[in-house]
């Protein structure tokens, strides 16, 4: 070998070792940089991963005593990566053993999907997740989700409404209070609802609907001093955890979203207007003997009276003719002014979506004004009418219904509709209605109820249908120290015990509701109700069950 060749081989050998060293050095440098980066950023990445857990939040809804009405329950979605499934038949069989509600054909179709990941089941409980987890199936995993859960199921379903899988309120309080429920840092929303009273109202309403074979019914219970809605029911109801479709009749909130001609439950307002304006007096007598015509149309009388009667009899015996005469004395303009003061010219401002707009009739002609005097030719929601009745609780002042819990010390917005004297006189007449008038079936031995019956024929194209009615009863109790308003209505009841009027089908049920909730309110036992509205609105007096 020549010297030149030896030198060339030596140079090549040196060059190879240098190149190897260079490559190793570059590799080590890359590893060092990566190690340095991981050392500095590794923790932050873990933190970001942890922070992504439970990003979806929504406050609980609780009743006035802290009982949970709606909460966020942790649930799991079962997912699969079809490419990683070992045996479709075996996997499907094992999953169905753990989760019998899975359908095999659908499950197997999903397990052979061409997609990277497929959802097999949503809304699994932690126990169900554990059962599947213990199977140790390849390609099966879980995604943590949060879902709205309503522990009371059917109870207060219309009031609560629902929230979607994105946890955005869709109906009821879920929508009405959506912003508050999604506000950061808020873990619960305290409402005015009392679950015990809600139950009593719903049970008695359902019983009344069943006994009368009615299409449905609705009820509203207010603390008339604060406007707090203690219970609000619509029948038929549904399980809030499995709400029917948006177009289903079951979702109809008959207390808030529907408007009805209320009939004679409007008469107390007509009499209060007449007294307030001085166009009628308690000493005056009225000729209410049929026939009586307004603009050539006869005012029909459900309870014809003989001889002249006073205002007390007009209300307690429910005279349409008497109410029509008083309404004509009040006149259209002043009638509208009072309706506005009572909150009956606009939709009730309760915190629920879809509050029905009232319809105050086609015109302000004499006939319409007279008919409005006894609750026809105008329609409104039940909750709006219940709000108007607070005028007789607060000596003429009206408070708007609300689902917010009244906090002691907070002011209550009231505005005057009638003088205290006018309101108290009408309240006394309403007591006579229960003692000796059309509302005698609401009479109780230990609790004094003042009330008014209502039986409104439904208006159809072409006139009023004598066979289809809305029968209702409005109660204020205890009459000697008025505090609570209860309004109960049945939609198209069939005759029971000789009639389908409010006095026959609604008044007894209202009395049963009052009897059932009296212990919670401390009534009939020497108690004084929920406590002074300005001091302690939350503490229930009387017997705690």
């Amino acid at each position: 070998m020549s010297g030149r060749a030896q030198r060339r081989r030596a140079w090549l050998a040196l060059s190879r070792s240098q190149m190897l060293a260079l490559v190793l050095c570059a590799g080590l440098t890359a590893l060092g940089v990566r190690a340095f980066t991981l050392a500095l950023r590794g923790g932050a990445e873990r933190g970001e991963a942890a922070a992504s857990v439970s990003a979806m939040t929504r406050a609980d809804i609780v009743d006035r005593n802290g009982l949970v009405l709606a909460t966020l329950a942790p649930t799991y979605a079962l997912t699969a990566r079809p490419a990683e499934i070992w045996g479709v038949g075996e996997t499907a069989g094992a999953l169905i053993t753990a989760l019998p509600r899975l359908q095999r054909p659908d499950l197997e179709r999903r397990l052979v999907s061409a997609r990277k990941q497929v959802y097999l089941l949503r809304g699994m409980t932690p126990a169900e997740r554990d059962r599947v987890f213990s199977l140790g199936l390849a390609g099966i995993s879980f995604v943590e989700e949060a879902r709205r859960f309503y522990p009371q199921a059917n109870l207060a379903a219309h009031v609560l409404g629902s929230a979607g899988v994105d946890l955005i309120g869709q109906s009821g309080m879920e929508r009405g209070f959506d912003a508050s429920l999604r506000a950061p840092g808020v873990d619960k929303l305290e409402t005015s609802i009392d679950l015990r009273m809600q139950y009593a109202l719903e049970v008695e309403l359902a019983g009344a609907v069943a006994r009368a074979g009615a299409l449905g019914g609705a009820g509203v219970l207010l603390d008339g001093q604060t406007g707090e809605v203690l219970a609000l029911a619509s029948n038929p109801s549904f399980d809030a955890n499995r709400p029917p479709g948006p177009s289903s009749d079951l979702r109809k909130n008959r207390a808030v979203s529907e408007r009805y001609e209320m009939g004679s439950t409007m008469k107390p307002f007509t009499i209060a207007m007449a007294l307030d304006l001085g166009v009628a007096s308690p000493d005056e007598y009225f000729n209410v003997v049929p026939p009586y015509f307004v603009s050539g149309v006869e005012i029909r009388e459900a309870h014809p009276l003989s001889g002249p009667v006073d205002l007390r009899a007009i209300l307690s015996k429910s005279s349409n003719i008497g109410a029509a005469q008083l309404a004509l004395r009040v006149g259209a303009a002043r009638q509208h002014k009072y309706f506005a003061l009572l909150g009956l010219e606009e939709a009730c401002a309760i915190e629920l979506p879809g509050s029905a707009q009232p319809n105050l009739g086609p015109d302000d002609q004499a006939l319409t004004v007279a008919i409005r005097g006894y609750g026809h030719a105008m329609s409104m929601s039940l909750v709006a009418l219940a709000g108007a009745y607070t005028a007789f609780v607060n000596a003429g002042e009206v408070v708007s219904p609300t689902l917010r819990l009244h906090v002691p010390g907070d002011g209550i917005v009231k505005h005057r509709a009638f003088s205290a004297q006018s309101a108290n006189i009408v309240l006394d007449y309403m007591r006579s209605t229960v003692l000796s008038g059309t509302g005698q079936k609401a009479k109780l031995a230990h609790i004094a109820i003042a009330g008014k019956t209502g039986t409104a024929e439904k208006f159809e194209a072409g006139g009023y249908d004598h066979a289809r009615m809305l029968s209702s009863f409005a109660a204020i109790f205890p009459a000697e120290a008025p505090r609570y308003v209860l309004l109960l209505a049945l939609d198209e009841p069939r005759p029971v015990d000789g009639g389908a009027t409010g006095g026959v089908v609604a008044a007894p049920s209202a009395a049963r509701v009052v009897t059932r909730i009296a212990p919670f309110l401390g009534l009939g036992l020497g108690g004084s109700g929920l406590g002074n509205a300005g001091e302690s609105a939350r503490t229930a007096g009387g017997v705690e069950l």
Binding site: A39, L40, G42, G43, R46, G47, A50, V53, S54, D60, L67, V68, L69, T71, L72, A73, P74, P126, F149, P151, Q152, A153, L155, L195, R196, Q198, Y199, A200, K443, L444, A445, H446, I447, A511, R512, T515, R516, A518, P519, G524, L545
Partner: protein, 82 residues
């Protein structure tokens, strides 16, 4: 020679700083991991509390209480007649 010692000292200090930084970072990482674990535990406990509260609400349901009161105590809702 002086330059050699200066370079050696600088290299040593750099090495010491690197070790100190690594240790501090490792400890911070360990603490962060513990915080993350505790936060996860808190979230888990909160979720369990929510489930228990919901179960409690189901058990407190007026319909259930009434059913049990009827069955075991022979009680009934109050009724009143004139």
């Amino acid at each position: 020679m002086k330059r050699f010692w200066f370079n050696s000292l600088a290299a040593l200090m750099a090495l010491l700083l690197a070790v100190a930084l690594y240790r501090a970072k490792s400890e911070a990482d360990a603490v962060r991991a513990r915080v993350v674990a505790l936060e996860a535990q808190i979230a888990h406990t909160r979720a369990e509390t929510k489930v228990l509260a919901a179960e409690g609400a189901v058990l407190d349901s007026p319909a259930r209480v009434e059913r049990l009161a009827k069955r075991h105590l022979n009680m009934a809702p109050p009724e009143e007649k004139e």
